[in-house]
Amino acid sequence: MGESIVLEIARYSPERDAEPHLETYEVPLRKEWVVLDALNHIKDKIDGSLTYRWSCRMGICGSCGVMVNGEPKLGCATFLSSYAGRKRVRVEPLRYFPIVRDLVTELGDFLAKLKKVKPWLIRTDGPLLREGEYLQTPEQLDDYRQLSMCINCTLCYSACPVVGLDALFVGPAAIALAQRYNKDSRDRGAKERTLILAHPDGIWGCTFVGECTRVCPQHVDPAGAIQQYKVGSALAWFEGLIMPKKRRKTEDRHGAAAD
C-alpha cells in the first residue's frame, strides 16, 4: 500500500450517542482523490454505517458540503492531496445546522427561509406564457448571472456566524437568491420580497463578516449582494424622504421599502 492519510470523521448516531464524537480512518492518499472519494472508500471498505449526502460528484448538486479542518467545503471539490502535509484531516457536518446522523444535517429551516424570499419570477402583468418568452439582452442577463450560480450547498450558512447566533436571520444564500430575481429584468416581485429582505432578520441582520463569499464554491458573492441591497434600500428610503412622488417608482425598481 502506498501513502495514506488519516481522516477524523464526526460520528453521531441519534439512537446511541448523546453527542457527536470523532472516529479515525486511514485511507489511501491518491492524487486524484477528493474528500468524497475518501468517504466513499470508508463506506465501501471500512465502515458501511458512515452516513453522508452526495450525488453528482462534480460541484453541481451542492449536497456533499462538510466542514474540512473547520472550513466549509464541498467534499467533491476538496482534494486530499491539499492536506498531504497534515497528520489528520477532520471532517465534520456543516456548522450551525442540526445534525441528523454523522455528516448529514437538517436543512428544513434553510429551505423554509429560501421559500420565504420567493425565489421565482413574479409577474402578474404582461403577456401570458403561451404567447411567448420574455426577451432579455445580454446586459440584462449579466445583471444577475453571477447570483444565479448558487447551488444551495449551504456552505455560506456554515461560514456565517450571524446564522449561528441568530436563528431568525434569513441568511446569505436566500438573500442572494432573492437579489438574483430582483435584478432580473423579467421580474416584478422586488416589492413583495422587500418585506422579508429589508428587515432586521434580513439584510440588516448581516454584519458583513464576508466569509459567505469567501467559501462560496460558485463565486456567487452573497456578501456583495446583501451590501448592495443595503445601499439600494437606504438610497430608496432617502429618495422617498425628499421626493415622495418618486417613491413608488423606486420601490418597484429596487424593492426597497421606505417604511
Partner: protein, 141 residues
C-alpha cells in the same frame, strides 16, 4: 458537584437531532472571525479618536493655557499608549472598510462593472489628499 449528563440533547419536536451550541468564543477559532471582531471593535477607538479631537479643539478655543494643559495630559505614558492603540485600530478600521467598498458598490460604466480596485482607489486618494492638506495646515500654522 454537577453530575455529568449523558442524556441526549433532545428538543421538543425533533428529539433525535443534535443541535450544537455556538460557543461564546466562536470568534477565537479562526483568523477571519477574529479579524471581523477586531474590525467591529475598532469602532470604539474611532469614537475615542473623535472625542479626543473634539477635546483638543475645545482646548484650542479656550486659549494657550488650556491647550498647554491639554498637551501636558497627552504626554502622559498612559495616554500615549492609548493613542498608539487608537492609531492602530483607526488605520485598521479605515483600510478594512475601504477594501470592502467595492463589494457594497457595484459601479458600472457603459453597462459594465468596473474593476474593484477602481472603486477602492478613490477612497485612498481622498484620504491621502485630505490628510496631506490637514498636515500642511498644521505644520505651516
Amino acid at each position: 458537584m454537577q453530575q455529568p449528563t449523558k442524556v441526549p440533547h433532545y428538543t421538543k419536536y425533533h428529539p433525535r437531532w443534535f443541535r450544537p451550541r455556538v460557543s461564546v468564543y466562536w470568534w477565537l477559532g479562526q483568523w477571519q472571525y477574529l479579524r471581523f471582531i477586531l474590525r467591529e471593535l475598532s469602532s470604539v477607538f474611532v469614537a475615542l479618536t473623535v472625542i479626543m479631537t473634539l477635546l483638543e479643539l475645545r482646548a484650542v478655543v479656550q486659549g494657550p493655557v488650556a491647550y498647554a494643559r491639554f498637551q501636558h495630559q497627552l504626554a502622559k505614558p498612559g495616554v500615549i499608549l492609548i493613542s498608539l492603540i487608537s492609531l492602530f485600530f483607526v488605520l485598521f478600521h479605515t483600510i478594512t472598510w475601504f477594501n470592502l467598498t467595492p463589494r457594497a458598490m457595484a459601479v458600472k460604466v457603459a453597462g459594465k462593472r468596473i474593476p474593484e480596485w477602481l472603486v477602492a482607489a478613490p477612497n485612498y486618494l481622498i484620504w491621502i489628499v485630505v490628510s496631506g492638506a490637514i498636515s500642511l495646515l498644521i505644520l505651516r500654522g
